[in-house]
Symmetry: C2
Subunit: 427 residues, 2 copies
């Protein structure tokens, strides 16, 4: 029986989950794969606190470099997070010829090329299944199971915190701020929550997905990133009446050889599977030219689900399989479609003054910007002088929406900030 | 660039799909994996018919053995189907030390142990992702991504024909026979349709899933297999009123170390993701002790989706990864739970004579067999003298249901054949 000795950097929530999983199922893994995983060393600045798992104190150290440099350690697992120290350690481990497993999507999204190059140079594999959609083995599916496919599109619900907030807003009829505060109290949202609710975390994961699908790291600067901060409950209500649910969606599409990416709250038709992904669950819907439509669903975060993916990677690294980053550097850069090229349908919600030509004025601005209206829903109940009106548009260029929204916001008949969200028809 | 030469046995629908996929995306695969797939030889009794793909006629042969024995051929792909000739060829290829890719679930379910032993003996890998749920890389997920998990349960919609029929029955309010006939005309169902509609095909796939999860081939004789033949539209209607959809479900659970398996039409709560798997799509819901709940969804059959899985296996075999069958022979046999141990909730639909004590007589039989009633729904509309009555039971042993149903069918107040289906609560 071959043994693999694991060196874990970062003994936080996920690190403790990895230890728990290996202690519980290590022998089962050995039976399945022929390789017995052993916790060799664990480095953390805090080696005193109880993590709820039984580890031999002699494996604990505060010196991460001693773990990387220990000749007994076969695989390095980076669970520190952040993009500075974590990056140094990952690079050092790769330079030392050791395969590295990481769950660090921010690091991959912001320094992917540098890491991939270091991996290719040293020949040591880099494994990062846990960085996207937690326990769901979707990166592996893209890399292996769907290797024969051109990836036409991917639509992801990739942030459990946002999906939890949206689900509760919908079920309980609450507004964003109320649910966020409660989610923070319950530990479902971080403080500060910005990375999650502003869409940055989702964008990090979208970058990793796109890299795998299209063979090049995509820059975070290349696409629109918007989150769910301040979303009003009435948007959810109106969307519901129109047959949609609101999800924070990462959209990654190959359109005529160029990559279109967006992260924004989007209206998803209720009969689409992604509309049924609730609570803190994640899902990735993938369309390939050979396989057709597929979807992977599961817990996107948390101690054990993330540990499940980390452990899968550890076992693959131990077997000396996978982990090559050559494909991820295949293309120097990808042609990316921006607001001048991207065509979307939109949901617009305005508060209009109750005067006869209000809708006409809005319609005029839309028409001038080449946006045609598919449907208008005017709610009967007035809010003082304001009447909420929802427009569903046909497809138009993103840049035209930007221009139109600015003009609309400046109209005298419009009160407050107009709301615009994408409608995703999965076409 | 390494090249891999593929020998395909069986140039039918899927065989032609594999050729199409490789011709279309072979170079992309080479960029992704460093291995260029090349169609080396194709054997079929019919090498004249046009399959709609451009192959060099010199690769075609009617002699499968010449493909297996050709020293230029690196990987054998068995797409003949059936369990006699296909088995001979697979064994011969393994004996010759060549890795084999197959989509043949019947062969795996009925002769799994023999094939796995031949693979282990020769050291040549056996790959069969395409045998379960077509293009969905669920076997790979179980083997690699979820390697660190004890698999607690799997629930699969594994037969596209049945799911297509059930979806149309539900949407269009039609009865089984009508939709089946139409599905056969449209090519969505085979003639004869028995393997699909009687649950055999689903059971084959369940056996493969269980083998991978629990490390031993399970015998087809060890569990209940029932299909959707003759299902009445009113069952779908009543289930709908009660908050359920009817799906042909494979249930595979680990209960206290013993495997519980069943294939039968089952009531799935509408808010469960599996209830939203429609048309000819497949899905597998997997619960692992570390990852929690996951689901994979996609096309379960068809030329290209199946080809996608076959191609993924070819590339893995070409890389010399995976394909080991040692784990599949880990356990000589599995403890299996039968009707004496399995506890389920049931939906019972009876046609009762319109007389005062009819329900009491049925309730008496159920009580005698230790089955307690959770809910009763009596439909107002009479069908002549008969009143349809639906009982939802609490959990009881499968054997008690069998005994009770026999007694109930014999009651004077009961007309026609009583209907019993499992209710799946995913607990």
């Amino acid at each position: 029986m071959k043994e693999v000795k694991i060196g874990i950097l970062g003994f936080g929530t996920v690190g403790a989950g990895v230890v728990e999983g290996i202690l519980k199922n290590g022998e089962l893994m050995a039976k399945r794969s022929g390789i017995l995983p052993i916790i060799g060393k664990i480095a953390d600045l805090d080696i005193e606190s109880d993590r709820g798992v039984a580890v031999d104190p002699s494996v604990l150290t505060t010196d991460a470099l001693s773990v990387i440099n220990d000749p007994e350690i076969d695989v390095i697992v980076e669970l520190i997070g952040g993009v500075t120290i974590a990056k140094q350690f990952v690079l050092k481990a790769l330079e030392a010829g050791k395969p590295v497993v990481t769950a660090n999507k921010a690091l991959l999204a912001e320094a992917g090329r540098e890491l991939f190059e270091a991996s290719v140079k040293s020949g040591a594999g880099l494994y990062f299944e846990a960085s996207v959609a937690g326990g769901i083995p979707v990166l592996r599916a893209l890399r292996d199971g769907l290797v024969g496919n051109q990836i036409q599109s991917m639509y992801g619900i990739l942030n459990g915190t946002c999906n939890y907030i949206l689900t509760r807003m919908e079920r309980e009829g609450l507004d964003f701020d109320v649910v966020l505060a409660d989610a923070q109290k319950l530990g479902y949202a971080e403080t500060p929550p910005d990375l999650d609710i502003d869409g940055i975390d989702t964008a990090h994961k979208a970058v990793v997905l796109a890299s795998l699908a299209y063979g090049a790291p995509v820059s975070m600067e290349a696409f629109t990133i918007d989150g769910i901060r301040g979303l009003s409950h009435r948007e959810i209500e109106y969307a519901d009446e129109l047959g949609y649910r609101i999800k924070l969606l990462a959209v990654i599409r190959n359109v005529d050889g160029a990559v279109e990416m967006r992260v924004e709250p989007s209206l998803v038709p209720k009969n689409h599977l992604l509309a049924s992904v609730n609570d803190s669950f994640n899902a990735v819907f993938v369309e390939g030219d050979v396989v057709g439509e597929t979807l992977c669903y599961g817990r996107g975060a948390g101690r054990l689900p993330t540990a499940s993916a980390v452990i899968g990677d550890i076992m693959e690294a131990a077997a000396g399989k996978g982990g090559s980053c050559s494909w991820l550097l295949q293309n120097a850069s990808l042609p990316v479609r921006g607001a001048n090229d991207i065509s979307i349908r939109c949901y617009l919600r305005l508060s209009l003054k109750d005067q006869p030509d209000a809708i006409a004025q809005v319609a005029h601005v839309l028409g001038k910007n080449h946006i045609s209206i598919g449907a208008v829903m005017q709610k009967e109940q007035n809010e003082g002088e304001q009447v909420p009106v929802v427009f569903l548009t046909h497809k138009a260029l993103e840049k035209n929406f930007a221009a139109a929204m600015e003009e609309i916001a400046a109209l005298n008949v419009v009160d407050g900030k107009p709301v615009r969200m994408a409608i995703e028809d999965f076409e």
